[in-house]
Symmetry: C2
Subunit: 399 residues, 2 copies
């Protein structure tokens, strides 16, 4: 037996630890808080069917032929409008590249910017696939501390000064997994910092539309007008995955012109373009004007489940599990406190929990360094209120 | 103004020269032989609509939710069956990764295998995006000579011995742009060479189904059973783009287990998975069993156009343009001979041709080194016979 001579970049990454958790989910009757998925039952399958039918009946050439790497122009226009409704002014469709999910936007940022030995800064904790994709391009991933108001600007400033990173990656709104919301004041501070230090800021915003009560502060991209010049140091990743459907794989990257041009060039050699069937379908759906009404329903459903999970955790686990009640997104980020002599190791708890019939993701994979062994992520997105209550009961028993 | 510090890997590539040609195509009334596209009018839009409707009505969860990185299992099964019908035995769905077009398969091969300074061998000429994607990962691209029977095994053996490449990339059947068909005897020689020298062979086969008369020799993957052990040194890229629709962006990679596992890991961080809407639609279409009848129609249409273009070239350009009449695929690869004092520079001819109202791609971008300035690629795929005849007439005038 011989082996192929793989590239050394593979030595820096590993297949997602979260994927491994899913292998445990085959057990019958298990309740899963492990996924990062939205709820399929909330997808507007009929609306998407109508949009796909329109695509294939009215514009079969566009929906089935090769398309521009930059994206299907009517979709770029719809997405620019969607962003404008969220307060992003002066955005032209040409400033936006359609990507195959926002995961591809992250990959293109890595490909265009990072080379071995470069440093990047991410939040601790953050989206684990981001850590991996930047490492795949050879980055050293530095972590910045967060609290419930998101990343701490003073600490971030010190880290930028020390490490001179290629980029700083933030999920400012309903962070995954933290649920944290970067405050409006900190948003301005972070934008100012990017401008002053000439450091590229990457804003990943898949969850911003999933708020439960009041809307969160506008995105960094929307607020960049308040810090003139900061837009030149800002890339924004958006996605239809959490608000419409992940299966379409439609995301987008908004970035300064030279960065966008390089991302387009790299995308040309990555997958030529995003599925035109998916793009035309998404464009038709957005043009139909039903998105905001659907989003209101989706928000309501997730709000109900989030509150049910929070109440059940307080009721059954008491002081043994600490968490901030989320104001949006799909997750509760929690910590085992050890109160009353209970477990503090979430990995051990995860194994016991599966035996009791409930699954979740331990927090470690969300940290690029110094993992918090007591942390865990609980998704409330895909279970009914009754199932959530039963799942939390099982979790408390395992604890 | 400041600029972002881009990665040095971008210095090795440029946006496709072929894309630049397309900017000239806005001129009204221009006849284009420039595209690499299949003909939209030959797409089975109705059949694909039925498959998409079935996807969204019967399995909306699967079509709209996140899916496995490896691909939608029923699609992997259908694709394994499709390959089995083409003589590939002992192929399980698990040996096949669904990719976002076969372009992504090439990107994943680059990502998993190539690091700066590595060498790869490609045919001269070959698919220009392959040259670019391998260069993006830092490869030095070496060219192997071909004739009308494809790559010359003796020359390839010498180049492998000299350069010890990470991989050898071939389009053995109806090469783009050459139209060459690697003979059955050479296929066996090349497989033996890969095994003997322990060199990974990458077979790209987007055109193999588009033959005009007799089927070409079986793919390297199908013939690998005749050279025991050679399958361990063979990766195969397939695509639905030329036989069903490029807009779906459904391709696949078949590779030895360790290579496939690494490609899956890299795909996880590239785009998570290929659009499930596109995958479920493709699976339903393949399961409907109409593909072989459609392919027969498509073959007939392209055969007619290829013959019309060949006849028109012989009739109007005579000895000034030399070419081998293709037996399949989408292209005629030709050379300006300079006979009767005519032009020998295809770049100059391309400019004059656009003025006369016809466009084609000069041959240079298809060469990784030592471009043949007299070569040109003419696509017969998207024009009617009458349009082809008029286009060739204009080309002869420009010449």
């Amino acid at each position: 037996m011989t082996t192929l001579p793989f590239a050394t970049r593979l030595d820096n990454v590993e297949t997602s630890a979260i994927r491994e958790v899913f292998k445990l989910l085959g057990k019958p009757g298990i309740i899963s808080f492990a996924g990062g998925f939205p709820d399929s039952d909330l997808f507007d399958a009929e609306g998407i069917l109508a949009a796909a039918q329109q695509a294939l009946r009215e514009t079969p050439g566009a929906a089935l032929q090769y398309g521009a790497t930059e994206g299907y122009q009517p979709l770029r226009e719809q997405l620019a409008r969607f962003m404008a409704e969220k307060g992003v002014s002066e955005l032209t469709p040409e400033q936006l590249l359609v990507t195959t999910g926002s995961q591809q936007a992250l990959d293109l940022l890595g490909k265009t910017l990072i080379e071995p030995g470069d440093k990047v800064i991410v939040e601790a904790p953050t989206f684990s696939a981001t850590i991996q994709v930047f490492r795949l391009y050879g980055a050293e991933v530095i972590t910045a501390p967060i609290d419930r108001d998101g990343v701490c600007p003073e600490a971030l400033a010190a880290l930028i000064a020390e490490h001179r990173p290629k980029l700083v990656y933030l999920i400012p709104t309903f962070g995954n997994p933290s649920g944290a919301i970067l405050s409006a004041e900190r948003r301005l501070q972070v934008l100012r910092l990017a401008l002053q230090t000439q450091t590229l800021l990457v804003e990943d915003d898949p969850y911003g539309d999933l708020y439960f009560d009041a809307p969160p502060p506008p995105s960094l991209l929307a607020m960049a007008t308040e810090i003139p010049g900061s837009r030149a140091w800002l890339a924004h990743c958006g996605s239809l995955s959490k608000v419409l459907s992940p299966g379409l794989r439609v995301g987008w990257l908004i970035a300064p012109p030279t960065l966008l041009a390089n991302a387009v060039m790299c995308k040309q050699f990555s997958d030529a373009h995003t599925s035109t069937l998916a793009q035309v379908t998404a464009a038709n759906y957005l043009a139909s004007g039903v998105m905001s009404a659907r989003l209101a329903q989706v928000r309501q459903a997730y709000a109900l489940r989030a509150r049910a999970m929070a109440a059940a955790l307080r009721h059954t686990a008491g002081e043994a599990i600490a968490f901030n009640e989320p104001a949006g997104g799909l997750f509760i980020w929690a910590r085992l406190t050890g109160a009353n002599g209970k477990l503090t190791d979430s990995q051990t708890l995860a194994q016991r929990a599966v035996e009791r019939g409930v699954a979740f993701v331990p927090g470690a994979p969300f940290f690029a360094s110094n993992p918090d062994a007591a942390a865990l992520r609980l998704s409330f997105a895909t279970a009914s209120v009754a199932t959530i209550e039963e799942g939390v009961r099982r979790l408390a028993l395992a604890l």
